[in-house]
Every structure is written in structure tokens, then in C-alpha cells.
């Protein structure tokens, strides 16, 4: 079904050869510089619902993308087609665009002497030789555990097992070529509880590079069921200003917003409320935010960035102060700063934390809202204004009182970051952002 028969490290030499052919073709057609990314992926996705198979999907994707330069002009093209004709035509399409684009002083590849040389092995490839029948069985076990958890679990919205493996090679005409194979497996369960005149859904999941490292299917099912049942009887609370505790799996989003706000693209476009914030204290003094890109098997690990630069460990925040933006070669040039090897993003962010678990943070909060779900995209990165739909639990006297829904939480990210009272040790491990639950001193909760 494609040029490459098996998706794994053994496919890398063939993909590297393809990158070289495309680079050569770009040069032949007249590009002065070029970068190419070639990938091939395959996967299996099975979903069961109400004790029956619902879908079995086989995925197989391949393709390549090129960005080429004619002097300081740039053009890009990509395709899922294969063969020499596709290479020829895709290069021609990119070149035609480059010829019409404007000259951009900052455009171009990273300098040759900055390219990554040593590429450490990150152990990202752990194929899971699971048959569709076995995948279905695991998903059925997960859902069965969910149904068995509570009689109020009356319906299901799908339990899915996904396994995916891919290979990617990136190369450019400044002499860099690098590639890796990686895997990603996940099991997710969505259940629906009925009671107190309501239907409520909730979910749980796990994701890992290694199939055998996934949480036990029954525990995922139970967790999804418990979460759905706990929401029955949810109601709004009156509008108030209170502390808000973000569950760890949602707190990752807060730091995701932070990374977006310090990304070079938003800074040079004057589209971030953190433009010009280098050296400012943005978080409490005890907080530190580190990137560690070379952790074996981690979901965000990478040896080189989207420009071919070696990734490296660094702090974005130390003692609460902003030390660095998140820069690619291009955004760095726009801001007169060196790249931080973050073309394509940050590779594993670690948020420093204290030694309280989530229950301790609920006790510490005393009275406020514990948020376990957020809805909508109510964030304005230009101003930092934040307003989103929320659901969770009302807390009084350090204890959960009742489930809450149909409220919003609002504030400004600058105030919210500075107002972080604690980060829990209940670390979220399913994201490339590692953080515990986050307690924010004060936000506006709008409700009834």
C-alpha cells in the first residue's frame, strides 16, 4: 500500500534516501536552500460500545513536505502521493510559490554550524504487536469494568484502544539529516451515568510509548465510571470570587497557554500579553519551569527541533522570572535572539511542585471551586484575558460538597500565574507538560 513495507527503524535508511533525492531535485530545479520532512505512519484504532465492537480502523499514512528558498524568498509544498513524479511536482509547486513570495530578511535555514550532530537514542519505538481481536478484548474489559462499577452507569460513549507507529526523517541542504521511529498507544473510556434527573458523561484514559506500560484497562474503566457518577446532581453555584483548584490534567493547559504566550511567533507578531516580559517575575518565586527534551520514552522527547538544531535542557522560568522565550531560528532572527531549538514547540516541560497531593490542596483551598472540566476556547492571548466554561466540585471546609456545572471561571493569565498558591505532587504523566494540580488564589466564578 506504500513504498515502505514496515514502519519502524528499518525504514529509516529508505526515508533518508528519499530526503536526499528530494533535496537533490530541489537543487536541480534551482532552489538555493531546502528542507524536507518525510514520514510514514501506521496504526490500528478499535472502538467498542455497549459490549459490542463499533469500529475497527486501519490507518496508514505517508507523505513528505518541503520548504525551499530562492535567496530570501520561501515556498512550501507537501503531498501524500508517492513516486518520482510526486517529488518533481511538489518541488515545482514550492518553487513556483517561492518565486512569488516577498523577500524576507529573516528567511532561511539555520546556520550549518548550529545543526545537531550527536543524536542520543531516546527509546521512543516500542511497537505493540496486538491483533484487532486482542485490541477489542482489552477495550471490552475496560468497558465491562466501567459498567460493573456502579448501577447508575447506564450507557457508554465508546472505549477505544489505539496503537500507532511512525517514522520521520528531516533533512536540509545545510547538511543535517536525522530521523527517528516512535510509537504511541492509548486506551480511553467514556461512560454515561444517569440519576438525579441528569445524564452525565466523563472519561479516563492512558497513553504511553509502550503498550505494556498502559494502566490496567479495568482501572481506566472504573475511573471513567466513577468520574461520571460523581457528576450526577451537578448544579451551578452563585457568582463569587474564590480560590480555584485546577486538576492536574487541566493544569497542563494553563502552562500550555504560558508556552504559547512566550513563543517567538506570538512575541514578534505583537500578539502576546507577555511581549517584553523577559526578566519579569511572572510566577511566585518558588516556581521553576524546565524543558528536558532527552528523557527516554517520554511523550515530548526529541533530539532535534524542526530546524535540525540539537534540543537541550533549559529553564524558561527560574525563581518565578522569565529567562527565555520559546524560539525557532526564524522567530529568533525576527527578535535578534539565538534560536532556543524550539522550532515545533517545547519538548517535555516540567513544572516544579510542592509535596501536597490533590486532597491536601483541596483542604488547603478551604472554600472554592475544584475544576475537573473546562469548555470552550475563551482565551485572548493578546491581553491574557481568560474566561472558560467549567465543571467540577464545590469545596467548603476543605471538603468536596457537591458537583458543579454550568459555571464559568474568569481572570487574567498574568494575575492567575502570579496567584499560584501551590502546585501538587499529583503529576500528570499523560502529557508532554508535567504538572500537578494547580491552586490559584482567586478567580471570578460566574453562575446562578
Amino acid at each position: 500500500m506504500s513504498e515502505v513495507a514496515v514502519v519502524g527503524p528499518q525504514a529509516l535508511p529508505e526515508l533518508e534516501a528519499k530526503v536526499e533525492r528530494i533535496l537533490a531535485e530541489a537543487k536541480r530545479q534551482g532552489a538555493s536552500a531546502c528542507e524536507v520532512s518525510v514520514s510514514v505512519e501506521q496504526g490500528l484504532s478499535t472502538t467498542v460500545r455497549q459490549r459490542e465492537v463499533e469500529t475497527v480502523e486501519f490507518n496508514r499514512d505517508q507523505g513528505f513536505g518541503i520548504t525551499l528558498y530562492v535567496g530570501k524568498r520561501k515556498g512550501s509544498a507537501s503531498t501524500s502521493a508517492s513516486g518520482e513524479d510526486a517529488i518533481h511536482e511538489t518541488v515545482a509547486a514550492a518553487l513556483a510559490i517561492a518565486k512569488h513570495a516577498s523577500e524576507d530578511e529573516c528567511a532561511g535555514l539555520a546556520d550549518a554550524d548550529l545543526m545537531a550532530r550527536d543524536l542520543p537514542e531516546l527509546d521512543l519505538f516500542h511497537p505493540w504487536p496486538i491483533t484487532p481481536e486482542q485490541a477489542v478484548e482489552l477495550a471490552l474489559n475496560c468497558e465491562a469494568a466501567a459498567f460493573a462499577t456502579d448501577s447508575r452507569i447506564r450507557n457508554a460513549d465508546g472505549t477505544s484502544l489505539n496503537t500507532h507507529q511512525g517514522c520521520r526523517v528531516y533533512g536540509n541542504s545545510n547538511g543535517f539529516i536525522g530521523g527517528y521511529a516512535s510509537t504511541r498507544h492509548s486506551l480511553s473510556c467514556v461512560m454515561i451515568a444517569e440519576g438525579e434527573g441528569q445524564m452525565q458523561r466523563d472519561y479516563w484514559y492512558d497513553v504511553s510509548r509502550q503498550g505494556e506500560a498502559l494502566a490496567d484497562p479495568a482501572s481506566i474503566g472504573r475511573h471513567a465510571a466513577e468520574r461520571a457518577v460523581r457528576r450526577l446532581g451537578a448544579r451551578p453555584v452563585p457568582t463569587c470570587e474564590v480560590p480555584v483548584l485546577f486538576a492536574a490534567e487541566l493544569a497542563t493547559g494553563l502552562f500550555g497557554h504560558f508556552l504559547a504566550a512566550i513563543s517567538g511567533g506570538n512575541i514578534y507578531r505583537k500578539s502576546s500579553f507577555l511581549e517584553g516580559a523577559l526578566g519579569q517575575r511572572l510566577f511566585p518565586e518558588w516556581m521553576k519551569l524546565d524543558e528536558r527534551p532527552h528523557i527516554p520514552r517520554a511523550l515530548g522527547s526529541a533530539t532535534f527541533d524542526g530546524d535540525g538544531l540539537a534540543t537541550y535542557a533549559k529553564s524558561f522560568i527560574e525563581q518565578g522570572e522569565l529567562l527565555s522565550y520559546v524560539l525557532s531560528t526564524y522567530s529568533g532572527r525576527k527578535l535578534n535572539m539565538p534560536s532556543t531549538a524550539n522550532a515545533g514547540g517545547v519538548h517535555n516541560l516540567f513544572v516544579s511542585h510542592g509535596d501536597e497531593d490533590q486532597a491536601a490542596l483541596i483542604r488547603r483551598m478551604g472554600r472554592g471551586l475544584f475544576v475537573t472540566e473546562l469548555m470552550g476556547q475563551g482565551l485572548n492571548l493578546v491581553t491574557g484575558d481568560y474566561s472558560r466554561g467549567a465543571a467540577g466540585y464545590w469545596v467548603e471546609n476543605g471538603e468536596i460538597q457537591f458537583p458543579v456545572q454550568e459555571v464559568t471561571i474568569a481572570g487574567n493569565l498574568r494575575d492567575m500565574f502570579l496567584g499560584i498558591a501551590a502546585v501538587g505532587k499529583d503529576l500528570e504523566r499523560r502529557s508532554s507538560i508535567s504538572t500537578g494540580s494547580v491552586l490559584i488564589e482567586r478567580m471570578t466564578v460566574a453562575g446562578s
Binding site: F58, S76, E89, A101, K270, G376, G378
Partner: protein, 480 residues
């Protein structure tokens, strides 16, 4: 439509040595015993985008994607595989994988193909080719320069132009055989303004199933730019939105995001077959105020959400979802229609050949009422007027939905007064729709910017509504 079959099948099948004549036997391989339905979806898509920022056209990209999706269904089970290669071998491999959900057996029966006659809603030409690259670049530069000249407070202008040209062929064992050629274009302007150290953004865009000449006529491109700037300048003066439950008046057009979230998703057939929607099993019941009549209409000429036929080959239609407040029908694809024993409504859509079809909206809007919009505003003592919205989201099971404002004002004593910052509004679909107490006579559809996400698949959609008043909904500001 049948006149599209020949050119589209020639384009999609011939390069891999295939022809329409071979499709029955390929479907036969797929649709063995135990398989209730099977289809093949061939697609080729070319797309491009051009982006101007900092006064220069710095980004342009072109993408070519093609492949075939192969689906087999047995009861509620679906097997699916796809391939980038459109050859007999690739189809056979994918068919074997897809039909593995049913027991193996000999070949199944395929109905004789029949091609539906449908109204053509958009042109056949490649929308990317109607103007030259030099003209595209010139258009972006012209809009940028003219926009910057409008106001000295402008700090950044981003202008983008994007086009897609899809050619699809669908063949199913129920005898459906249909082809479509689908253009889609879009133009966007985003402006950042600064005044006394305060920065705000405004954005506007539009488009539809047309070609780039759409933006050159009626001064549309500059119209978006002026609107983006106006919105940004309004936001410079904004104060924190109130927090709490208030009457809210939504402007006409894009505010139809409200319906898309509060009603639309909850009326998609899959959720209702599964009983997971707050609207499940409620056909014939009153689920909205009697002012509300809501339709999903895929048959509007040139609209972003329009399709001559859906991705399963079913002609689209205008489906009444809610009539005078009473729930009338759901939006169906073939699978959910078959399992629920109702007709398909032409709402089977997919992001691409690499994705499974699902019931999806096309253009969803509320019919006009009788009130003068000014009279609606005048009826509110203290509340919010939302002139423009950002995105939204819904939990169809609990019915809770949100949408955020991008241009909103306080209403004080029946008059629109101070602009307020963007805020999220949250409500419960059936509750909020029952609180629609006034409906304007100014039905408008959006300018053609909507993209709807569901289970990881994005499809272009349209929304619309007249000005309407909701008696009470929670507004998520920070103010008093």
C-alpha cells in the same frame, strides 16, 4: 450530476489503471455475507494558502492529498481502511482489512448503480487557478497597505488567502454512485491595534464554495479588513464583562454558533441512536420556545457548509430540526438512518478519505421572527449585546454548551452602551432555547468562516440566525 462522473472518475481512477466498470466487483469483494453496507470513497484534494504579515507575503504553501477510503458495515460494526494509492491491489488490501469485522465468505451482492440527479450549487473550475500567483500576492499586499492606511493605531496586519479543490467519487453496494467537484475559498484579515499601551485584536474573514474572484467583487476583501479594524478599535475601549446571569441579545449571522452548539450537535443521528444526547427520544416534544424554527440546509448556493451531495452520495436537503419549538427530526448519515429506521438526510460527512463519515451539520440556521432588532435591544434594562462571537463547544450528554464573545456591549436601560471584553457564556441547550423570548426579522447567515470539529474531524459549516433575545444565561466576565 452524472456529467461529473466521467471527468472525476477519469481523474481519480485512470492513473491507477481502474475504471468505474471495476467498482461493482471491488464492492462485491468488500460486501460479503454478514456485511450490510459497504462503500468506496475516492478523493483528490489540492489546497494552498498564502499569508502576509509584517507587510510581506512570507508564507505560501501547496498541498496535494489523494486516496481511497474503504468501509464495510455489519449491524452497528464498521470496518475501515484507507490507502494513498488508488490501485486494484491497494483496494483489495484495504477491503480485506475493512471486512475483517464480519465472518469471511463468498462475494456479496451489489445493487445496480444509479446516480442521483442533484442541483449544482457551485462551479467546477479549480478555484486556485482563476487568478495568477502574482495576482494573489498583489491582492494580499493591496489589502495590507489599504488597511494600514486606515488608522495609525494599527501595529500588525495579517492577511491570508486559502483555497481548496476537492474531487470525490463515492460508490456503495446500495447502488449509490456519485461524483462531486467542490471548491472552497477563504480570506481572513487580523489586525492588532495599540493605544496608550493597550493592545487589542480584531479579526474578520469570509468565503464559500466559490473561487478567489469572490473576494475581488463587492469590495469583500477590504470589507473584512475594515470590519477587523472596527472590532479591534471597539475592544480598545472595552471594560470587564459582568459576571453572573443576565439577559443577552445576540446579533444576527455568525451568532448562529449558539444554535450549532446548543441544538445542532445534540440533533446529530449518532448521538440519538446511542441515547447519549440530551435530545434523545424527544421527537415531537417541545424543546425550545415556540418562536424557534431551526433548519439544517445543505442546498444553499455557494455557501461554505453547502454540498450538492454528502460524502455517502446522498443528495443534501433542507431538514427541519425544530419547528415552532417542537423537535421534528435528526440529521442522519446512512448508518444511523438504517439503524434508526429513518431516511438518510444527506448529512453523512467526513474530513477526508482517511476518516469515517458521521452525521454532521451543513448550514444550520434559525428562521426569522417578527421583531425589529432595535425593539429587542430596547426591551432589555440591564444585559449584554453580543455583536460577534468566537468559537463554541457542547457536551451533548448534559446539554451544557459555551460560546465566547469577540465583540460585545453592555445594554443599559434599553440602549447599547460600553463595549465589554471577551467572555464565555454558558448554558444548557434545552433550557436556553426555551428562554428565547424575542426574535428579529433580520435573518442573516455568517460570512463563511465556520469549521466544526467532532471526534477529531474538521468540516466546513455555515450558521445563521436573526437577532434574538435570551432572557437569562450565565456570562463569564470578571466585572460586577
Amino acid at each position: 450530476m452524472s456529467d461529473l462522473l466521467l471527468p472525476v472518475s477519469e481523474h481519480l481512477l485512470a492513473p491507477g489503471g481502474l475504471s468505474i466498470d471495476q467498482l461493482p466487483s471491488l464492492l462485491g469483494e468488500l460486501a460479503g455475507p454478514g456485511i450490510d453496507a459497504a462503500d468506496l470513497y475516492f478523493q483528490s484534494q489540492v489546497s494552498e494558502s498564502w499569508v502576509l504579515e509584517d507587510g510581506i507575503v512570507k508564507e505560501g504553501s501547496f498541498h496535494l492529498d489523494q486516496g481511497v477510503g474503504v468501509r464495510a458495515q455489519s449491524g452497528e460494526k464498521t470496518g475501515f481502511a484507507y490507502s494513498n494509492a488508488i490501485t486494484a491491489q491497494a483496494l483489495s488490501d484495504a477491503a480485506r482489512a475493512a471486512r475483517s469485522i464480519a465472518r469471511t465468505g463468498q462475494e456479496g451482492r451489489v445493487q445496480v448503480f444509479s446516480t442521483p440527479t442533484v442541483t449544482r450549487l457551485y462551479g467546477q473550475d479549480n478555484p486556485l487557478d482563476v487568478i495568477s500567483r502574482a495576482e494573489k500576492v498583489e491582492l494580499l499586499q493591496r489589502v495590507d497597505a489599504a488597511t494600514r492606511a486606515l488608522d495609525p493605531r494599527i501595529k500588525q496586519v495579517t492577511v491570508s488567502l486559502a483555497g481548496v479543490w476537492d474531487r470525490i467519487l463515492v460508490a456503495a453496494n446500495d447502488g449509490s454512485l456519485a461524483a462531486d467537484i467542490r471548491p472552497l475559498v477563504r480570506f481572513n484579515v487580523s489586525v492588532i491595534v495599540e493605544q496608550n499601551g493597550r493592545r487589542e485584536r480584531g479579526g474578520q474573514g469570509g468565503g464559500g464554495r466559490s473561487d478567489y474572484r469572490y473576494f475581488l467583487s463587492e469590495d469583500r476583501a477590504m470589507g473584512y479588513a475594515r470590519e477587523a479594524l472596527r472590532q479591534a478599535l471597539v475592544n480598545l475601549e472595552s471594560v470587564p464583562a459582568p459576571a453572573g446571569t443576565l439577559p443577552v441579545v445576540l446579533g444576527s449571522g455568525w451568532s448562529g454558533v449558539l444554535l450549532h452548539e446548543a441544538v445542532g450537535h445534540g440533533l446529530e443521528g449518532d448521538f440519538n441512536r446511542k441515547g447519549s444526547s440530551a435530545y434523545s427520544g424527544r421527537i415531537g416534544e417541545k424543546v425550545a420556545s415556540s418562536l424557534c424554527t431551526i433548519v439544517d440546509d445543505g442546498t444553499l448556493v455557494g455557501r461554505r457548509g453547502s454540498l450538492s451531495l454528502d460524502d455517502e452520495g446522498t443528495p443534501t436537503q433542507c431538514t427541519t430540526l425544530i419547528e415552532n419549538g417542537v423537535l421534528r427530526g435528526y440529521m442522519q448519515d446512512k448508518l444511523n438512518a438504517r439503524l434508526m429506521g429513518v431516511p438518510a438526510t444527506g448529512n453523512g460527512r467526513r474530513e477526508s478519505y482517511a476518516h469515517l463519515p458521521m452525521p454532521r451539520m451543513t448550514n444550520t440556521y434559525m428562521l426569522a421572527g417578527e421583531s425589529d432588532p432595535e425593539e429587542i435591544i430596547a426591551s432589555v434594562k440591564k444585559g449584554i449585546y453580543c455583536a460577534s462571537l468566537g468559537g463554541g463547544q457542547v457536551d451533548i450528554t448534559s446539554g451544557k454548551f459555551v460560546f465566547s464573545t469577540s465583540e460585545a456591549y453592555l445594554i443599559e436601560n434599553g440602549k447599547i452602551t460600553t463595549p465589554v471584553k471577551g467572555a464565555t457564556l454558558i448554558g444548557n441547550g434545552p433550557d436556553v432555547m426555551n428562554k428565547v423570548s424575542m426574535l428579529g426579522n433580520d435573518l442573516a447567515l455568517d460570512s463563511g468562516v465556520g469549521t466544526c470539529g467532532k471526534e477529531g474531524q474538521s468540516v466546513p459549516v455555515g450558521v445563521g440566525q436573526p437577532t434574538l433575545k435570551i432572557d437569562a444565561i450565565t456570562v463569564g466576565g470578571t466585572g460586577g
